[in-house]
Amino acid sequence: MPIPDLYRLDELFTEEQRLIQRTVRDFVDEKILPGVRQWNRDAVFPVELIPEMAALGLLGATIQGWGCAGVDYVAYGLIAQELERGDSGFRSFVSVQNGLSMYPLLAFGSEEQKDRWLPPMARGEVVGCFALTEPDFGSDPGGLITQARRTAGGWVLNGVKRWSTNATIADLAVIWAKDEAGVIRGFLVEKGTPGMTAPEITGKLSLRVSVSSEVHLDDCHIPAENALPGAVGLKTALMCLNQARYSIAWGAVGAALACFEEAVEYAQTRIQFDRPIAGFQLVQAKLARMWTEITNARLLVLRLGQMMDQGKAHHAAVSMAKRYNVQTALETARTCRDLLGASGIVDDYHVFRHMANLESVYTYEGTHDIHTLILGQELTGLAAYA
């Protein structure tokens, strides 16, 4: 039985938005859900699905031109939601390609850079990645120590980056480094550039259907035209993160819905004490609470999407949605895992995988606590980071 749409949220979307959602939903049902258990066991991201996601138009979806579909932000949100209903790894892939690779090109790149890179990125022929975080600088990116020094013909980069999604499989990396004056700048480094390697981080118990990497830059020389002319200052890097956070806030809804639907169905069919456990008050209390929280989360991102489309979304509003929705999704996943009892710990069901994934999502793109501090600063005018 599908979950009733109590608040008639469907009516809040346009016909195009619903068609786009349906396309991605069908893709997830037919191409992702049948394989996801094995990919998760094997800790592989199925790169063979990249051309299919590109053919649907998911890559660079919000961009007008360069072969991109040019959909609105609400539609993009629905794409993220449906992908993460499958697995956070697919939503992460699209968030990174769109928000952290294509967006910096669009916002800070030269016309030549856009014309060269955006079309093949939309076609999925060029996979992008974004490297800001370092082993010693996560929540405090402004302290990063990767160096960019000017040379006769361009720049030379030195440093180590960590937790860069897709870097191992990427054809183009957006690297953030400090110049001699200590100003953070964005650079494009092509795959195969001598001095750059991107080993994969193994042993992850979360986001297993996603490539997470280190990026090592050892006297990596790049030509002058590979600097992103507009990417100057930490703020420009944070603008990219805002894009990704937006899609995460929507994606979390998808993961929460996947867990919730699985738990409701389980509770209706699992018999204990001669009746479905869904008939017990303790179970209903959990379901009622989760349903309300998920509805809240959906309304929050819908309004945020409308503001994104009007160019009015404050970065703290994005933080609020990322913080609230991921927390809601993580708590939902944990409660659903509980409702499934022992079945909840095996991968015959999706809930544990989502729960484990959401632990990463809770931490990446600004930890839950950092978003709390962003909201705190917005509310009080006082920064509490250090």
Binding site: P2, E15, L19, T23, G57, L58, V71, A75
Partner: protein
């Protein structure tokens, strides 16, 4: 090659259908409607023929205002044009086939594709009746279609086998599952569909020749019955299967 595809807007197969208060129709409120799944095969086949041979794919649907949504889905898949025969009330299939035939007369086509049936009323009549109304040959429930010069060879499913049929063109074909793997409407297709105009034709308000008197739910299934255990229970089981269930 110009291809006309007839499509229908039907309740989603996952929807829980409820009978309306009049007892003769279904509640449409709160039910998600979609492009009839068999029509998706028809649209996909038309798009592939166009991609191979050029021409245009035109969609034709009869129904209330809402039917435009399924036309929009077909346009998003890649069809070039859509014509909506606006009918406020439900017609019997023969009346509908005649109305569609009249509309089809104004659209140039080399062949017509339909789904083999609509998943709401499951009549599986429209395609064949449309062919009759247009005095064209028809091949129903096809799983393969090859278009040659002025003729086509289709494979259709028959009881425990396949039948290979050759026909002159134009002709009407109805699509069975297996004909192809319908594409997802891409984001670009969906955005472009917004720009495509849906032409409206008023439906001649002829009376329906068939009236639905009553709709009823199927009997709800009761739980199974355990006859006994081991070999001793077999004779009783056989007797019940024979006399009660009447399957032996």
């Amino acid at each position: 090659m110009n291809i006309l595809v007839c499509v229908k807007h039907v309740p989603d197969t996952e929807a829980a259908v409820k009978i309306a208060a009049d007892g003769k129709s279904i509640q449409t409120q709160d039910v998600n409607f979609v492009l009839n799944p068999y029509d998706e095969y028809a649209v996909e086949e038309a798009l592939r023929l166009r991609e191979a041979r050029g021409g245009e794919v035109t969609l034709l649907s009869a129904g209330p205002e809402e039917a435009k949504k399924s036309l929009r889905t077909g346009l998003a898949m890649g069809a070039d044009k859509a014509v909506h025969l606006v009918c406020a009330h439900r017609h019997d299939t023969l009346t509908l086939a005649r109305a569609l035939a009249a509309a089809a007369g104004q659209i140039p086509f080399d062949l017509i594709l339909c789904g083999k049936q609509a998943v709401d009323d499951d009549e599986a009549q429209l395609g064949v009746m449309l062919a009759e109304a247009l005095s064209l040959p028809s091949v129903s429930a096809i799983v393969k279609l090859e278009v040659l010069d002025g003729k086509a060879v289709a494979r259709r499913e028959v009881e425990s086998g396949l039948e290979v049929v050759e026909t002159s063109l134009p002709a009407v074909f109805t699509a069975q599952k297996g004909l192809n793997d319908p594409r997802y409407p891409s984001l670009k297709g969906i955005m472009m569909a917004k720009q495509k105009k849906i032409e409206e034709i008023a439906c001649a308000q002829s009376d329906s020749q068939v009236e639905i008197l009553d709709l009823a739910y199927p009997k709800s299934r009761s739980g199974g019955k355990i006859v006994g255990q081991g070999a001793a229970a077999v004779p009783e089981l056989v007797r019940l299967l024979h006399e009660e269930a009447k399957v032996l």
